[in-house]
Subunit: 459 residues, 2 copies
Amino acid sequence: MLNADVKAWLDSHRDEHLAGLCELLRFESISNVAEPDGCRPCADWLAARLRGIGFAAEVLETAGRPCVVGEFHAGVDLPTVLIYGHYDVQPPDPLELWDTGPFEPTVRDGWLYARGADDDKGQLFMHFAAAEAWLAASGSLPVNLKILLEGEEEIGSPSIEKFLTAHAERLAADALVISDTGFFAEGQPTITSALRGLASFEVIFNGPDRDVHSGLEGGMLTNPINALARLVAALHDDDGKVTIPGFYDDVLPVGDEEKAAWRQLPFDEADHARQMGTDALGGGERGYTALERNWLRPAVDCNGIFGGYQGQGEKTIIPASAGVKITMRLVADQDPGKIVAAFEKFVAGHTPPGIKSEVKVRHTARPVLLATDSMAAGAGLDAMAEAFAVKPVFMRCGASVPITEVFQRVLGLDAVMLGVGLPEDNLHSPNEKLKLSQFYDGTVMAAAFLENFAERFKA
Amino acid sequence: MLNADVKAWLDSHRDEHLAGLCELLRFESISNVAEPDGCRPCADWLAARLRGIGFAAEVLETAGRPCVVGEFHAGVDLPTVLIYGHYDVQPPDPLELWDTGPFEPTVRDGWLYARGADDDKGQLFMHFAAAEAWLAASGSLPVNLKILLEGEEEIGSPSIEKFLTAHAERLAADALVISDTGFFAEGQPTITSALRGLASFEVIFNGPDRDVHSGLEGGMLTNPINALARLVAALHDDDGKVTIPGFYDDVLPVGDEEKAAWRQLPFDEADHARQMGTDALGGGERGYTALERNWLRPAVDCNGIFGGYQGQGEKTIIPASAGVKITMRLVADQDPGKIVAAFEKFVAGHTPPGIKSEVKVRHTARPVLLATDSMAAGAGLDAMAEAFAVKPVFMRCGASVPITEVFQRVLGLDAVMLGVGLPEDNLHSPNEKLKLSQFYDGTVMAAAFLENFAERFKA
């Protein structure tokens, strides 16, 4: 059970923690745009906040947006916990669909609305509150605590591997906690044990060297939009299977037991379709449940497409070019490097006469499987059970937290994914939100984890 | 031979005619945007210009952008010629590809650069110059002349049929001339005898009711971009044949003689590809030459595609929707109404679970075949031969001048297409231009036509 003073302190400081989080959410720390750069001021604020709690903290440079590193040394015989979070956020557009401004955090009906409320400012800030509570209520922490906050997670963490390598000694720890995932459903605490990897691309098809008249040239010139559509369509067969040669070669099978456990989860495909505002879950491969398609199977999705005239009315042209942004979600043990090579070959093979194609590889991340039987995982299960009063389950996740694989490889640490988001949080969408009760209970979970881990470590 | 005084007057007033055309080209009379409306001021200017020449002229309302009608009555026993042109233009974007402003007409190396220089302000203005020359040099015209200028040709002439019907008596004539086409090549005067029709659409695929996270939903939700790409790809088989059931049912065969004549035209497919800045003419159906594909065969082209994130970098979403703008070019005797119905059925059949599709029919135009053996066609051949000193040939055209079919049906007139554009004029593209020698010789052709037609009519 969490130290009673710490628990009481958290309970009596909810308003202060909410106010602090709202300050954090006001920074427009969008990482995928160069200007205006809202990342550095946000990093400065986070470091200052950590110093205010009693941490040694500083903003450290990377090749891109800076990292924040905070440290509190509690004792040489105590274990060390590393917390990772990211303070950058997705772009907020389309702006017109937000009920209140994405960077004007607003509480309505027990939810906090803002870009980053769940992903990941709200979740990283739970750990600030927990550390603050321990220090204020007990004068110290049960572990040595290191906090690492990244500013480029939403663009695939291009600088983090080099950063971790350079600061490996400083960031060494006995356990790693990441809170950047969510519950399977409200009331069902969940720890994520696998995340999909990623390979993202932009493909450009160039045709004529200018937009030309669709009447005077139609039937003669290869149309870059039509050609690009044929490429995109060719990526899947009629059963939803990806057709890129070798794509599935390294996909690991999953045991029937794990699949059977998932079938017990409260998930109704028709309900989920309704929540998404659509009438059916028609994506992915035939022969798998929707959860299996999202957790076990790789997926290839277009994120954006563009080309030719997009204004009102018409313009009767064959455009000079068209392009598409594609993200592939990969599962263990697909290798992003092999997938990139296979895709580049596929595009070349689907580039018709009259078109010059260009493939820009945006970034890649390996899929990851995490330990579920470690000391840290056990401490996490207990902390979550205590804070949310329900026994947690393990699940997988269709999204990518590329950093988990880098931590495995560079620091030798398997993360414990103590996420408290809910499926309805509108991640990456307009009206992103975080349920306040999840946030407050999450601060209790974060505080309890430190104590649980220290006890297991001692034992 | 054209009246020598008229010819001399045209030769000595080239600068004035160029200056007048430049004034006309400065109006931003783009019809496919509502605001800013550059159409009415342009129409007012044209009517004033006609009055300045000696015409009765006025701006007449339609359901959309206004028409200009000018009339000069030369004698009750004289035949009547109707000239049609359009003063609206295509949007100029992408603006950054213009060397000089699209609405800042500029002469370089014997070419006049501006949006509308060829299509169609430059060509309609040849007839202004011809009429002015006749009246200034001889005091009258050899025919009764009516000039009708439309402001909505580039958006498919939605108001013209009603307008022609309402003003049928006022616009009645013995011959119709339209200068809105071009030479097959410089030095090869050409009269167009068939034009493709058109059916244009916007198709929207709606998926989830908001953009959602591509990791958390990828493999479950139907992705509107991927689905739309499959629809577009399905429009053609691997041989470039359109797959819409019934699409080719009413396509008329063309005689081997006409096809053989075309093979004598100076057209090299590799050259044409190079001119378009590409390496091959890969569009359309296998088994036809490029000219046959453009002139004889229908074509289905995407003019624009859009959906999801289009900004810099990435946004890992499955978007709420995607859309495509499609133009079909139709040939005799395809019926646009049947084609629209077939396409709507095709889209419905290619809308997968999880998607709601919407087809907006933008506009339609019937394909047209024009008489090549009429009195007016003969007068046109002679006028063109005289002005350009080379015997003209008949050809077909892949583009659409929907008005030609409406004139056939409503006024019973087959147009003579006396166009003087050149293939390199960049119609609908950046850096649209008109060769000044074509413009000046075109004014001679326009003046000679009036005389030729009057003589043939009398005989």
